[in-house]
Symmetry: C2
Subunit: 358 residues, 2 copies
């Protein structure tokens, strides 16, 4: 029974406990699972044996026999970005509250095979389900990856899959911030886009839509990398063009890089050009000037995605405090399957009215 581990340490099993306590393995198991049908005497002996052996049941064996592993697998690309980081925090916290552990895997690259591989590795653990962050950043069609067996939820920039999805409403946000900039009096708004496949770049789409709807001139979007340094370069170039009076950057980091570039060339923000970001990075309010941006509730998105996932699992249905299932145990509202998390416009000082003509 006392076997060696990979580490060379010996690990104690339920058999050891049973032997030391002088009872059967079944009894120990019963004790472990609530103690019903175990005499006080046995309980005492077992408790003692566990104590002296420093026994802990193997989560692995349990998961195997119970056919349910209380773990949530999260797969994410761009794990170092603000959104994924904050969402992971939310997922982690909510998972803990609900008694689930979390496993994370990030694909080596954006390519189909790597993503599939990550998704499969995640599924192999027989987790409660998979939370897939930003599938729409992948340069492939999502439907190619799913259905994987088992529950899942996607966190996306925009509702598209139809089910089990929490959406950050990026398009709406892009539209709102662009409109705001236009409302300030700018003729048009330039866009420095985050490096996401165009069809799935919702922020960009919102920007375009706002421009279209107001009949404004639509400049080509400028595709940027994730590095603020790239945005700085772009800022320097943009500074050369006096038609540029307002720029919406795909996220706050890029907005910050952009402002640096603009300043490198002597432009003032917002006097010469207004710059808005997206996300409401924790430091955005401290910037000088404070960044006008769209606040995203990433942490909440993470938490909600856990609930959305667990809602698909019978054992985790939480009728008591929510009325999530009806009398038949069926899902009551379609809306419970997906969720929109709306961004909020935060107006600070990096944006303002354009300078008077000439």
């Amino acid at each position: 029974m006392t076997k060696m581990r990979a580490s060379g340490k010996k690990s104690v099993s339920i058999k050891d406990v049973a032997k030391l306590a002088g009872v059967s393995v079944s009894s120990v198991s019963r004790y472990l699972n609530g103690g019903s049908n175990v005499s006080p005497a046995s309980q005492k002996k077992i408790a003692q044996a566990i104590e002296t052996l420093n026994y802990r049941p193997s989560a692995l064996a349990r998961a195997l026999v119970r056919e349910i592993n209380p773990a949530i697998a999260v797969v994410t690309i761009n794990s170092s970005q603000l959104g994924p980081t904050q969402m992971l925090g939310g997922i982690e916290a909510r998972a803990r509250e609900r008694g689930a552990s979390i496993t994370i895997s990030v694909p080596e690259t954006d390519r189909r095979e790597d993503i599939l591989n990550s998704l499969h590795m995640a599924a192999d653990q027989n987790p409660l389900g998979i939370i897939f962050m930003y599938p729409d950043m992948v340069d492939e069609n999502i439907s190619d990856f799913f259905p994987l067996e088992g529950p899942y939820v996607m966190v996306t920039g925009q509702q598209t899959m139809g089910a089990h999805e929490v959406s950050l409403c990026d398009q709406e946000g892009g539209e709102i911030i662009t409109r705001y900039l236009l409302s300030l009096g700018h003729k048009t708004v330039y866009h420095v886009a985050v490096p996401v496949r165009l069809e799935y770049n919702r922020r960009l789409q919102g920007w375009r839509k706002a421009l279209e709807n107001t009949g404004s001139y639509i400049p080509d979007p400028i595709i940027c990398g994730w590095d603020p340094e790239d945005a700085r370069e772009i800022g320097r170039r943009l500074a050369l063009n006096d038609d540029v009076t307002a720029v919406f950057a795909g996220n706050d980091e890029l907005a910050i890089g952009l402002i640096s570039g603009l300043r490198d060339m002597g432009k003032r923000v917002p006097d010469d050009v207004s710059v808005a970001g997206f996300d409401d990075h924790p430091l955005s309010g401290f910037w000088d000037p404070g960044l006008t941006t769209i606040h995203q509730e990433f942490i909440r998105a993470g938490r909600e995605s856990v609930d959305l996932l667990l809602r698909q699992i019978p054992q985790y249905q939480e009728n008591p405090d929510g009325g999530i299932t009806d009398a038949n145990g069926d899902e009551t509202e379609i809306s419970k399957k997906s969720l929109d998390i709306h961004g909020k416009l935060i107006i600070r000082n990096s944006t303002g009215a354009p300078r008077q003509e000439k």
Copy 2:
């Protein structure tokens, strides 16, 4: 064999494959594990069965029987801070390269019981080992938590445990940056400290040491929260004191908050007061003024901690490219058990000589 999962989906097992392929379970297993001793004919049939059933071996069952779960458990507090975030990225990437998955658990609070709980939950998965980030931020003595069974590595601000530890050399960094500030001509340097238990606040200790060694006046350190807003408050207060010409903040976010507070009160940085941070946050170079700071190699720290952990596990010993074990398979160098990762002074524009007296 085809059982239901928690999700209600059926899952296919090795038995199903064996049956469909018309061979024994053993043969399928052999096929799965390299295919030696399986006739080409069988291989074909098995491959086909796997394909049509869409079979994937259960990682759980494998881990159980092999008595080794190729997963690294990382437990961390303050998971949303820059350091942990970046380290997690490094851990994740390196773990992937070395064929391990990763599991993360963050204690609910800093209290002993919660930490122990996280540590135990991690250990219950029978992982390859545990990477414990910033144990020294915990308000308890580390030795209380270990030895837990199995391999582990700590990532700390300063080498203290003696073994299996990667240290970020915070004290050295604090000393270096304080000395730099002094070298600029400042009479002394104030410190806005990160909310870490004093005995383990290495950055603070380095600062104090530099002051002591140069015989400078040692002001009381100002304890701050993690929120830059707290630092802003402190900045406003500090602005009232004309003796304050140089401040070293416990990290870049706080430095940024501090600068905001100083400016709120009309102080200029660095003209009126120099401010230095710590970590070299990705945005620090874009700040205006650029932040003088200590660059920390968090990602590398994460990667190294994985290697340090795996080095404790026979199956992962990598003789080929490193000579990590000697002829007897013993560890050759003590130094391989722990690692110092030195920070690097980055001089930017938030610091300068003090203004001429009056």
